[in-house]
Amino acid sequence: MTTAFIADVRRCADIDQGHNGLLRLFADSYGLQALLAYRLGRYLLRAGRRYYLWPLLLVCWPIYYVLSRCARVAYDIRLELSADIGPGFYVGHFGAIRVRRCRIGANCSIGQLTTISAAADGRGPVIGDRVWIGAHTQIVGPHRVGSDATVGAGSVVQGDIPARALCLGNPARLVRHNYNNRRILRLREAVAYPDHADGHDLPLVSVIIPAYKAEAYIHETLESVFCQTYHNFEVILINDGSPDTEEFERAIAPYRDRIVYIRQENRGPSAARNAGIHRARGEYLAFLDSDDAWYPTCLAAQVELALSRQPRCDLVYSDVLVYLDSQERRYRISSTSGSHPSPEPAVRRAAKSRGGGIRYSDICPSLGPATFESLLREDCQAPTSCTMVRRQAAISAGLFDENLRRAEDYDLWLRIAHRASNMAYAREVLGKNRVVPGSLSHDNLKMLEGVVDVLRKLSTSLDLSASERSVLQNKLAAAEAQVELERGKASLLDGKYDQALASLRAAGSLLANTKLRLAQLGLKFAPRLTRAIVGAWLTGKR
C-alpha cells in the first residue's frame, strides 16, 4: 500500500509542478485523496488473510468506509476495490469518475467524467502501463489497451487498442500508430521508457506463421503481431502452396518489407513450420496460425515468464479466447491439440448466452505444473497459437513430424517435454482463436485419430520410464476408446448398424459407461429408434 501510494504522490507532484508543499498538494488533489482511500482498502483486503491483523481491520475498515464515502460524496470519484490499479496512478480533476472491475497498469492517468468498468457479463478492461486516458472517456467491456497508448478525450472505446497508439472519437478510431505520450503523461524519462524496452538484452523472438488459404484473415493476424508491446521479434510467414497465392500476396503487400516471406509447395502445416524454424534466428519461436490473433501484451508476457525461471523456460504457453467465427472458414489447422471434445458446442453456447468467446482453459483447464506426464494426461494443454518454444529445445527434440497432419503440435510439445524441460503456463488470456461453425464431429474424429497416432508413435520412439509408460498406455487406451465411440456414433447416424455395434463394443470394453451399454442394447433390438434418439441427443447437445 505504502509503496504504491508514494508512487501516486510522486506522480502527482511531478504533474503539479508548482505545488506548495506536500500537504497543500494533498489538499488540492482530489484524486490523491480518493486514491488514499483506495490504497487503504486494497491493503485491508490483502491483510484480511492474516488473522493476527484482524483487530487492525476492525479499526481500519470503518476508516476506509468513511474516506471512500467522502471521496464519493464530495468529488464523485469512485475507485472501487474490484479494480486493480497499478502504482503511479493520476486522477485529473474530479466528478463522475468510475473505475471498477478492471486492471490498470503502472503510471496511468485518467481524466474527469471517465468510466472504466466491466460490461454486464462481468469481464472488464485490461489497461497496460503508461496509458493516458482523457476526460469523458468510456471504456466498458473486455477491451485491452496496450501500454503507452493514448485515448483522447471523449472517446468511447469499443475494441482493443494497440500499444503506443493514439485513439480518438466515438467509437474510438486509431489515429496514429507510434504516438509518444511521454510529454502529456509528464513522466520522468526513466519511468517512461525503461531501459529494457529497446530490447537490447531481451531475446529475439521468431514469430512463425504458416498460411494456407488465409487471405481473409492474414491482415488481422499480422496487425496483431506488429501491435505487440514487445519489439524484439522477427516475423516469418510461410505460404504453404496456397491456391489463392495471388490474392494472399496482395493482402500481405503492406507488410512485405517487415517480414520474411517463404513460398513452398503444399506439404502441410508441419513442413511449413519446420521451414520457418530453419530460417529463424531468434532464441525463441512463437507459433501463430494465420487465422488467429494475439493481444498486444502476448509476447511481452510470455518472454517475461520464460526469463523468470532459471534456467530459462523451454516452453511457455498461455490461455486463449476461443470464439466462434461468423464466416465460414474453408480450411482449418487444428485448434485443439488433444483428445478433449471439440470446443465448438461450448463455444456455441457461450456465444449464444454471452455474445462472446470462451476461455480455452474453460474447455481444457491447465492444472498443476506443466510436465511431460501432465501434458500426456492432458491436465495441461498448450494451444498452438499461444505457445512459445526455445529454438534449441525444438531442434534437439527433432522439429515437427511432417508425416502427421493432425495433432502435430501435441506431438512436438510432448517430445520437448520429455527431454526434462522446464515449462511454464501464463494464466492470462493472451490470444484469440477462431472456431468455425460446421460439422466438427467429423473433424473431431480425425483429431482423435491423430492423437492416437501420436501416442502410438511416441510409445515406440521415446525412451520412457515405467510410470511414464503406464500413463501413456492408459492415455492411449482412452484415446482409442474415444475414437471407437466417435466412429460408432458416426456410423450409427449413417445407418450402418453393424459397424456401429462393433465400434461401440470396442469402446465399451475400454470405457465402462452406462449410456454406452444402453446404446448397445438399443442398437441390438431397435436400431432405428436408437438412431433417432442418439441423433436427437447429439443435436440437442450442440
Binding site: A74, G95, G134, A153, G154, N170
Partner: protein
C-alpha cells in the same frame, strides 16, 4: 495580452472603496439572478428564491469574487483581502457544492448561464454574455492534440451537455454546440457543430429559441 486585459490592468491602479465594490457586486448579482430566474421559471416567483436554489448561480457568484481577486490584486486594499478570503473558501465551495471548477481568470462579461447540475470544468479564456452552458462540459487545453491554448466562447452560444471544447479556438457568437460534441477547431458565428470528432452541420442557425429555456431540443439541427 488581449486589449480587454490591458483595459482591466489600467483599472487595477484605480482605488476602489468598499461601498463601490459592494455596490458593483450586488448589481451584478441581481442581474445574474434575474437572468437565471428568467431561464428556469420554476418555484415561487421571486429572484431571491431563484438565487437560493440555482447552484450555477452560486458558481457564477463565487467566480465574480475570484475574478476580482485575480484581476485587481492590491495588497494594500482591505477590500481585496476580504475578497481573497472569500475566494479561498469559494474554491472548495465550488467543488463540494456546485461540483464545478471555473478558472479564476476566465472573463465572463455580462450574464451567462452555467449548469445547475455541475460537472463543469471550465478554464476558458472568456465566456460571452447570454451564453448557455449545460452540465458535464469540459473546456481546456487540448492535451493529446499537443496545442497549448484555451478556448474563447463567444456571446449567445448554446453548449449542450457532455461537450469537450479543447485547444486554442474561438466559438463564434450565436454558435450552437450540440450535446456530446468534442470540439477542437474554431467555429464561425451562428454555426451548429456536433459529433465526436466534431463537424459543422449547419452554417446559419438562429439559436435564440434554444436559449430561451433549459430544455434541450435535439432535432433542431439534425437535417443537412
Amino acid at each position: 495580452m488581449s486589449p480587454h486585459h490591458a483595459e482591466v490592468d489600467a483599472l487595477n491602479s484605480a482605488p476602489i472603496t468598499f461601498a463601490q465594490a459592494l455596490e458593483q457586486f450586488v448589481r451584478q448579482f441581481a442581474a445574474d439572478a434575474r437572468f437565471y430566474h428568467g431561464l428556469t421559471r420554476a418555484g415561487p416567483g421571486s429572484p431571491a428564491w431563484t438565487a437560493l436554489r440555482n447552484r450555477g448561480l452560486w458558481l457564477l457568484t463565487s467566480h465574480r469574487v475570484a475574478h476580482f481577486c485575480v484581476r485587481r490584486r492590491n495588497l494594500r486594499s482591505p477590500v481585496w483581502w476580504i475578497a481573497r478570503l472569500c475566494k479561498s473558501f469559494g474554491a472548495g465551495f465550488n467543488v463540494l457544492c456546485c461540483r464545478s471548477q471555473l478558472a479564476d481568470d476566465c472573463e465572463i462579461d455580462g450574464v451567462a448561464y452555467l449548469s445547475n447540475h455541475g460537472y463543469l470544468l471550465c478554464s476558458a479564456l472568456s465566456i460571452g454574455s447570454g451564453s448557455l452552458i449545460h452540465d458535464r462540459c469540459t473546456f481546456g487545453h487540448s492535451v493529446a492534440g499537443g496545442g497549448a491554448g484555451l478556448p474563447a466562447i463567444g456571446k449567445d452560444v448554446w453548449i449542450g451537455p457532455d461537450c469537450v471544447i479543447a485547444g486554442p479556438l474561438t466559438v463564434g457568437d450565436g454558435a450552437t454546440v450540440l450535446p456530446g460534441t468534442v470540439l477542437t477547431f474554431s467555429v464561425p458565428p451562428r454555426a451548429v457543430v456536433k459529433g465526436n470528432p466534431a463537424r459543422i452541420v449547419r452554417t446559419d442557425f438562429d439559436n435564440s429559441q434554444l436559449r430561451r429555456s433549459l430544455s434541450i431540443v435535439l432535432d433542431v439541427a439534425t437535417d443537412n
